[in-house]
Symmetry: C2
Amino acid sequence: MDSKSAAENFIERMGVISQADGQTRISGRILGLLIVEGRPFTLGEMAERLQISKASASTNARLLRTSGVIRLVSHAGDRQDYYELGTDPYRRMMATVGERLANIGAEVLEAEASFPPNDMDTRRRVHQLADFYLRMAERLKDWSDHPENGPAPAPRHNS
Amino acid sequence: MDSKSAAENFIERMGVISQADGQTRISGRILGLLIVEGRPFTLGEMAERLQISKASASTNARLLRTSGVIRLVSHAGDRQDYYELGTDPYRRMMATVGERLANIGAEVLEAEASFPPNDMDTRRRVHQLADFYLRMAERLKDWSDHPENGPAPAPRHNS
DNA sequence: AGTCTCGTTCAGTCAACACTGAACGAACTG
DNA sequence: CAGTTCGTTCAGTGTTGACTGAACGAGACT
């Protein structure tokens, strides 16, 4: 029972975090559920456990799936869709963020090109912004490709 | 005139980006304005130029100021508050994001502690999430402290 | 074919929140 | 001490968008 409330608490926190990050609350709760339980869930199970509609479960699971954070698994002889955590879900999250930043950087570069060539100072300032986004995106990409580097390595655990 | 529309276009894009990032649209537009114009602005000037209320200008400028992206400058003999880009505004943005991630990581660690000790697997999965946030935060901190490292170095310009 | 059980889609609703207008407080000027 | 001009605060409003309920479509089993 204590375990149950700890799980619910964690799931709810994940929802709030997700929402503060610009995502939907439900997608965070689904992710939290899959992390806590550590087993595949059907859309129906999610809906019942999280007290949400099947529509929301479907939509948000699809959303999480497109970014590779969760994956769809199918059991033989079972028509239902099971969702579970993808491989390296957090690296996928980073990669997704990196892609978004790269898109923003490209967009800012576009905007820079629309300024007249003689506005040197303006173009330089705008270019600095684009550079920030692009460098950030590239670093995230590097990191998601080589997660072993970097500070605070995770304590190794034998599965 | 072409320069003007390019500026407005850029400012508007910054607003959309800011909104997509979970910030307010106006804060992005203010930032875009300061980047494009490259000079200090008063709240009244912002309100007029961006066609927003003084209240919004005040609130959003305050918001940007707390993260150090823009700074308040005072001209002698002028009661008005002038806002301009802070020093290394993008590094400050990174640092702010890093702080938020560190807070989330700490929060997840808290949640992990609330699980019963015998739920080894659950605790491990939750811990991996906390680790992700904390490592991300630390890396962002490193980046904001050492901006010279990393791919695609910005072209140096003599101020 | 008929029925049942899935997942998805779409219009409608509801709540969160950005934004505004007006009132207030503060600091300077005459 | 009025009068003025700032910036801030707060209640009210408008809008976006997440979420729901119901209808629909697709397979599967009898």
